[in-house]
Amino acid sequence: MFNIERWQEIFETIRKNKLRTFLTGLSVASGIFILVILLAIGQGMQNGIAKEFENDATNRISVWTGITSVGYKGLNPGRNIEMDNRDYEMAVAKNQDKLELKSGVYSMWGVLTTYGNENGSYRIEGVRGDYQFLENETLTAGRYINQGDLNNFEKVAVLGNRVNLDLFKGKNPIGEYVELTGIKFKVVGVYTDPGGEREETRIFIPLTTAQRVFNAGDKLRSLAFTLGKEDNFEKALAASTAFSEQLEADLKVKHTISPLDERAVNVNNTLEHAKRFYDLDTMIRMFFWGVGICTIIAGVVGVSNIMLIIVKERTKEIGVRKAIGAQPWSIIGMILHESIFVTAIAGFFGLIFSLFLLEIVGPYIEMDFIRNPSVDFSVAITTVIILIVAGAAAGFFPAYRAANIKPIEALRDE
């Protein structure tokens, strides 16, 4: 490896066969290039999927109700099912130790909101304090809704960043009063949401206040929960699936809904949702690995072929070397070394070129399910190891053949 003589020999032979070495290298380089790009796209898909799910907590379970579609126990289909505080309390009481975050929600669409001369129409949601984390929101100023607000029916509001910009135009909103349907609410906080503008054009107020202000009694539009942490994804998924099914069954019993009705109670389990996408992504990635590895094998076969030709061409030279005292291992080393060197250098070019391309182009790629394709350090290291192994594999047969050359046969004048 650190033998200068060996390096000089390799450079001499490569210099002698520039075109041949270049073409061989090209096949290896493109193999690595394709592998890295495919892996990056796989990563991009994962990023894209993660992005799709990051506007809410990743293990959120949401429940909302609709209109019955199946008649049951003498009741006609077409009943409008509404949840209330008792449903929420039932779910909480039953799963006391399992739940991590929990909130009932009462929301109103298109509520006229004014501040001074500015006004807009926003969605108002009455929530509990946990809802900040269920929505994966980050406060940029002030505080969120708290238990005290709920207990005292406080008229306080947390604005989405977009709402804040629309109404306050950069002015500090904390402590100011906005009017919701003509009722004054004190602004106590501003949040941002990774879901973007759509998620930021909302105003949150305490649930109890919302129910009272909008004359909702104890009605709830939806419920939102997360379960406590589990050791791994599989366990978490199993737990949340069980919880979702149990909750749906309980609600159906309570509201006299047919177990077969698929519209009246909707339970959306984000984790289950995500798993489907991640499973798909895993399969696509495995496929990409397969394609990439096959491409590299094609390159390796190319290198091996070329090395065989080189050995054939240099039969006489190898014979001479052996006649003047070359040990078999030094011949093997020479061929292997050259093979690994050519493969590694070509592969590095492919690797660097693909990384360069990803660095330049990657951040601009933002499609629905592909986002910022890139590879991490461990993938780069893996490909480098693949290269070294591939080079050694490519050189093995030619080197073996070279070592078996008998000097006497090589030296015959034919």
Binding site: I4, E5, E12, T13, K16, K316, E317, G319, V320, R321, K322, A323, I324, G325, A326, Q327, P328, W329, S330, K406, P407, I408, L411, D413
Partner: protein
């Protein structure tokens, strides 16, 4: 190779002592090249014993054979067999490379031998920039580089014209004068008579082994 074996050598018994210069003669198929290959540890005899410098050469593995060749023997071939992408100097230093000699010492030694064959000025030239005689002289320098006990030459003048042949022979005679043992395979009478002893082979047997009066190549060239 078929199943029928062909006995090329059928009973050769001869000894060469240190400092001798022997030519092995014979028509094609007489077994002279096979004999030289056995002597050069490139091939092995099916039967019989071969002692080189007091060492029995038998059933050697590749590694040991390579070491013995490197230590004891220098080869000179009819077609020179220089490595064509290496300079004259690198060609000469190759046996030393396989001995593990350091680069600067190696080049110094190789230069010394190139001087000896009169090609010091051509050290950096590639073989295809040299004439046939020059190539053979580089090959001789290479054979000498590892300071072997015996020089084995297979038709060293076979690819050269008479004048160049005599120049090469003059060089080989000079080396012999310094005490090196030399074996030359040839089928040319005049070349054979420039050695001190001629062994004549026919059909794998020695038919004649006699000492001759050495003709100096220098005087032969002047005739």
């Amino acid at each position: 190779m078929g199943k029928n074996s062909l006995h090329v050598l059928k009973g050769i018994n001869f000894t060469v002592s240190e400092g001798e210069m022997v030519s092995i003669m014979g028509s094609s198929g007489s077994g002279k090249s096979t004999l030289l290959n056995i002597l050069g540890i490139l091939d092995e005899a099916d039967e019989g014993a071969y002692n080189l410098d007091g060492t029995l050469i038998k059933n050697l593995n590749e590694r040991v054979a390579a070491r013995y060749r490197n230590k004891f023997l220098g080869f000179i071939f009819q077609s020179f067999n220089l490595i064509n992408y290496k300079s004259a100097l690198d060609n000469v230093s190759m046996p030393l490379y396989y001995q593990g000699v350091k680069r600067n010492i190696r080049n110094e030694k190789a230069m010394h031998y190139l001087e000896k064959v009169g090609l010091a000025d051509w050290a950096s030239h590639l073989p295809n920039e040299l004439s046939g005689g020059q190539k053979q002289r580089v090959a001789i320098a290479r054979a000498l580089a590892s300071d072997p006990k015996v020089l084995l030459a297979d038709e060293p003048t076979g690819a050269l014209d008479t004048k160049t042949s005599y120049e090469v022979m003059e060089l080989i005679q000079g080396i012999n004068d310094e005490g090196k043992t030399i074996l030359i395979v040839t089928h040319e009478d005049d070349i054979a008579h420039m050695t001190k002893r001629i062994v004549n082979l026919k059909d794998g047997l020695i038919i004649d082994d006699s000492t001759v009066k050495q003709v100096r190549a220098k005087s032969a060239a002047n005739v």
